[in-house]
């Protein structure tokens, strides 16, 4: 009788998952250390230079955002690089581990692992940098607060959006980051055009050189809603915004994970 993936411990075994995790960390740690050293120097230097010009409350938040999003997307795009390299792909594909273990290990390293690593890195480098600024110039920026709500929100947004780049990493053989960025931008433009087209088809009779405002105002005036146009428009749009929020927070990442998982299972070497 044929055995299948879901039998026994073949589907997910914590020991194997930890081994894969250790391997993934171990493979990337040198590049990460080099990148960290370079970025540390950059942060300390620019923090000192900008401190001379005056206090900037957003300095470390801006640095963190760039490291998290740009760096994280690049790291996520490289996650399955070995899958597309002729010499390495067989090695990865025959490494004992189920698809779930292999995928979740890459996911954990590039999502939560990278976000937490960046958070810790920025906190330490920020503290060191501010110590130097205060010691040399007697002034500096605010200290980086890793528990700030804006920072935590950025991490949440990253955890969702990086799934797109992880999918790109599974799909694209070369320059996955650029190709994924291109597709995301293309999709955004296409989405915008579709919305504009729908808007035009619905409201085309009312579009004239004066714009839509006189027409909207006339409607609200007729109905006695004078002075509350913006609030009413907000009510009209809010269901769509809620839908977009639900799609973003709860649907986007799982869909990307599923696509990546199935693509991974179909990969031939």
């Amino acid at each position: 009788m044929e055995k299948t993936l879901k039998q026994g411990t073949d589907f997910f075994k914590p020991r194997r998952f930890l081994l894969l995790l250790r391997r993934d960390f171990s493979n990337g740690y040198r590049s990460v250390l080099i990148a960290m050293a370079a970025v540390s120097g950059f942060i300390i230097l620019f923090s000192a230079l900008s401190a001379l010009q005056g206090r900037n409350d957003e300095f470390y938040t801006a640095i963190f955002a760039q490291l998290l999003f740009i760096g994280g997307y690049i790291v996520s795009s490289l996650a399955f690089k070995e899958l597309h390299q002729p010499g390495r792909s067989y090695f990865y594909c025959t490494l004992p581990g189920s698809l779930v273990e292999k995928f979740s290990s890459k996911l954990l390293v590039t999502s939560l692992g990278y976000a937490l690593g960046t958070l810790i890195f920025c906190t330490i480098v920020g503290a060191a940098s501010e110590g130097i600024n205060r010691l040399i110039f007697g002034r500096g920026h605010y200290f980086f607060n890793p528990l700030d709500m804006n920072i935590l929100l950025m991490i949440a947004v990253y955890l969702v959006t990086q799934s797109v780049f992880l999918t790109g990493s599974v799909y694209f053989r070369k320059v996955a980051f650029l190709k994924t960025t291109l597709i995301v931008n293309g999709a955004a433009i296409a989405f915008g055009l579709i919305i504009a087209l729908i808007f035009y088809l619905i409201f085309r009779e009312h579009i004239h050189p004066g714009g839509l405002e006189p027409w909207i105002e006339s409607i609200f005036n007729e109905r006695g809603y004078t002075g509350q146009i913006e609030a009413e428009l907000g009510n009209f749009v809010s269901p769509f915004l809620s839908l977009i929020k639900i799609l973003f927070w709860y649907v986007l990442a799982p869909v990307c994970w599923l696509i990546s998982y199935f693509r991974l299972s179909e990969t031939e070497v």
Binding site: Q7, T9, D10, R15, R16, S26, T94, E266
Partner: protein
């Protein structure tokens, strides 16, 4: 056990295997021979789940190979012709990858490295191609995997290492293991591979034990060029002609792999007739 039934496979529009059947049992070192492009490497990839058949079935130890389940991958060690070793130290490699294989034998691994004359201190990236190959072979043998797939394993090995490789493999194989070696270097595999599988034009055209081969075929050095119908294959050599004929009870002679391969490829129909005939009188 490896069980391939009615398998179809091709690259893009070109078909490679059609209705391929193959059964390999544990306890043997199988030699997979074939001309360039016959599909030897592809067959190894299909068995290890790196390629998917268009139709048919390929199962290894009861697992469907294309699903690449972890339980199966723990039992397979594949060393391709163009391999990869990460640029890390030897102890770190062992530390990272050995735990993936439940029956990995660290003591055996060290002894294999010693036999291959490999120093453990060197980084993997500092090793030569041949040394890297030796390292992988030693690691593969130490994993205790039930299926060892080796694609051109002696390419890049020096002369002493080839001999070491044969000795190690012959010594390391257990009753539960299948070793499948795809190679062009048939002389390196002499006295090691048994049974022999010959692949040609997408078909297994020959799969016999060497014992059966010596019983069915005979090879003789003849001074004059023979022209009778009993000749299956002949090769001009120093001092005459190496002639392969059907063994009709004239005693057993040892046929080398190269001659066997050329005989099968050169006179496929006759070979098929000889090997599909009734058992020899001596066997009855």
């Amino acid at each position: 056990m490896i069980d391939i039934q009615d398998l179809y496979f091709g690259y893009k529009r070109e078909g490679l295997f059609s209705s391929l059947d193959l059964k390999l049992l544990p306890g043997s070192i199988y030699g997979l021979l074939g001309k360039n492009g016959a599909g030897k490497t592809t067959l190894l990839k299909l068995i290890s789940g790196l390629r998917f058949a268009r139709a048919g079935q390929c199962s290894v130890f009861g697992y469907v190979s294309k699903e690449r389940p972890a339980g199966l991958l723990e039992e397979i060690y594949f060393i391709p012709e163009e391999f990869f070793l990460p640029p890390i130290s030897q102890p770190l490699y062992e530390q990272l990858y050995a735990p993936f294989y439940p029956r990995f034998n660290a003591t055996a691994f060290r002894s294999y490295l010693t036999e291959f004359d490999l120093k453990r201190g060197k980084k993997l990236s500092e090793l030569s191609y041949g040394q890297k190959k030796k390292y992988l072979l030693a690691f593969g043998l130490a994993t205790g995997c039930r299926l060892l797939l080796l694609d051109e394993p002696t390419n890049g090995l020096d002369i002493p290492a080839k001999s070491q490789f044969r000795k190690l493999l012959a010594r390391a194989i257990t009753e539960e293991q299948i070793i499948l070696i795809s190679t062009h270097q048939v002389r390196d595999m002499e006295n090691l591979i048994d049974p022999v599988i010959i692949l040609d034009e997408g078909q297994i055209i020959f799969q016999q034990s060497m014992n059966e081969v010596t019983r069915r075929l005979t090879v003789q050095l003849e001074q004059d060029r023979p022209d009778d119908d009993s000749v299956i294959y002949l090769d001009e050599t120093l001092g005459g002609y190496m002639v392969v004929r059907e063994n009709r009870g004239s005693g057993e002679t040892r046929i080398d792999l190269e001659t066997l391969f050329n005989s099968v490829i050169g006179n496929r129909e006759k070979i098929e007739t000889i090997f599909s005939s009734q058992p020899l009188e001596s066997e009855v």
